[in-house]
């Protein structure tokens, strides 16, 4: 990651093979309360992100913001990883949750209840 800064601007360049546009959009969305955010692909290798303070009178201390951006980029990459890897199981959970919607009975399952015995094994 490369960083260029001036009083009124922060320019960051990140490797496009590491961070996708979706990750960047999700990450820098949270900076749009204080900054005008622009990001575009530069060549095939990099994304260039520009942050401009919305309130021009404000003096920005970029040295506190840059580490936060670095951390957020990593966090949003992680989040995307989890989202992508668990997409199918998440859809399955939700589909299973509502597939029984019209049924009067609770879902029938081989699965035990939380105390470790199968419901079928209980004799009343």
């Amino acid at each position: 990651m490369e960083v260029l800064q001036s009083d009124s601007l922060l320019k960051i360049s990140v490797n496009a093979h590491v961070y996708t546009d979706v990750m960047l959009a999700k990450c820098f969305y949270w900076y749009s309360n204080n900054y005008e955010v622009d990001f575009r692909k530069s060549g095939n290798e990099n994304f260039e992100i520009t942050l401009k303070p919305l309130r021009t009178s404000e003096v920005i201390d970029w040295t506190t913001i840059i580490p936060k951006i670095k951390q957020d980029l990593i966090d949003f990459k992680l989040r995307q990883h989890i989202t992508d890897e668990t997409k199918t199981i998440r859809e399955l959970i939700i589909a299973k949750a509502f597939i029984y919607f019209d049924d009067e009975d609770a879902p029938v399952s081989e699965i035990s209840d939380p105390v470790g015995f199968t419901p079928q094994s209980i004799k009343v």
Partner: protein, 501 residues
Amino acid sequence: MMAISTKTTDHSRKFKDFGDFLSTPGYALLPFKFHRISEEKEVLVNEIGDFLVTPSGTAARIVAREVNPENPSDLELYADLIANFFISPSPLPDLIEVLATRYRTKKSFLDYFTSLHIFVISLRCEHTCHYCQVSRVTTDKNRFDMSQFHIDEGIAMMMKSPNPRVTMEFQGGEALLAFENIVYAVEKTKMEADKHGKHVTYVVCTNLALLSDEMVQYFYANNILVSTSLDGPAFIHNKNRHKANANSHQLVIDGIHKCREILGEENVSALVTTTTLSLEYPEEIVDEYVRLGFHNIFLRPISPYGFATRNTNKNKYETARFLDFYKKALARIIQYNIEGYFIREDYASIILKKILTPFPVGYVDLQSPAGLITNVIVFNYDGSIYASDEARMLAEMNDQTFKLGTLGENTYEEIFYGGKAAALSEVMVNESLPGCSECAFQSYCGADPVFNHTTQGDLIGHRPTSSFCQRNMEIIRYLIETMDRNKEIEKIFRSWITDRS
């Protein structure tokens, strides 16, 4: 007498022997999100709202498959992650059905559809509160009281709700100015409820200034609950709630005593409305509630609706100031609990119930899908039907975005399943809203398109500048961090969400 077979097979047990996991070379991720709650800690929250507070960097270690059960220092974490559905030893978890059922339970507040039916029985009021959103000081009953025709139509619509248990809430203006309308509505509803097999809970929201013995006796005879407003000690309450030539604070206290005497303590509740003035007195407000023997207090921020938004000097305050107020008040409430006086804060309790229990919480302002229409509907004094209480306040500013129709003109189907309800449902789910979709607090928070529209002119809203988001994110973070830091406080929080009222 119940006999339990001791013969269990490995695949049917939720908690396997720990050794079963040790040979597992890797694990599959289950859907979860994370949020940094302090420098050292982060919270992991899974799809069904279970949470784990872990050292910072744990989410990264989980994703990188670095949590190794063969490593003694990871044993406990690994077991917690498995037991709490963050990871699974197999790609398709054995307990997928349990997860699905838990997910469904969390959303089961939707099962019965609309319960709360608000009847704005009159818009007239005898107070002139500076933050008041809707009321009119007038004697013009014909124009500002709900007509019997609209009451009848409202009741007919309420009876069509699929929900067998509905709440009929009378609001104003000052509802007691139209007491005869309340009596008419309750008597009519009793007959209709019998016919339709509905259980109806009645609530009257009132400032209690006009309360008479006859009214309390009627409430008692009909099991009607009383909800009032108490903003704190006299110097705050009277400033917030101006009533010409009268002491509003004394009137509400006399009213509370009278109601408690006849109806019982549990049938009288009070709400705080926080204004700019209140923000300076968090402790004094809590003290007043304790002095009056309350065991709960609901610290609500002032809403941005109606006339309130125009009175910028008196009413505008920063979310940060509210949060500061909230934390100070919460600290005072916790202190009372430590000293042996049980009192809970209701907003925290709603969130804590979502965090600490598998049960659904049907609180209109913190739901996904949002509570408008699915949980609440408002019949205004003039017969207009709105998607929520805030929506009708917005209408007083000539914004009819959330008007769904009119009593006597539109059918139940047109109102509840019509084009407007369908369009709104697109923005009622925080799982699909920008910012919320990645937020770890998604299952504890909600979607509020009315708030978004009012404050940002957009139904979807912009989370980074949303005070709804700022407020909820910080309160949720603070509650989790506080519980993690102090186990005594966690115990107190847990006592707030048990059945004690």
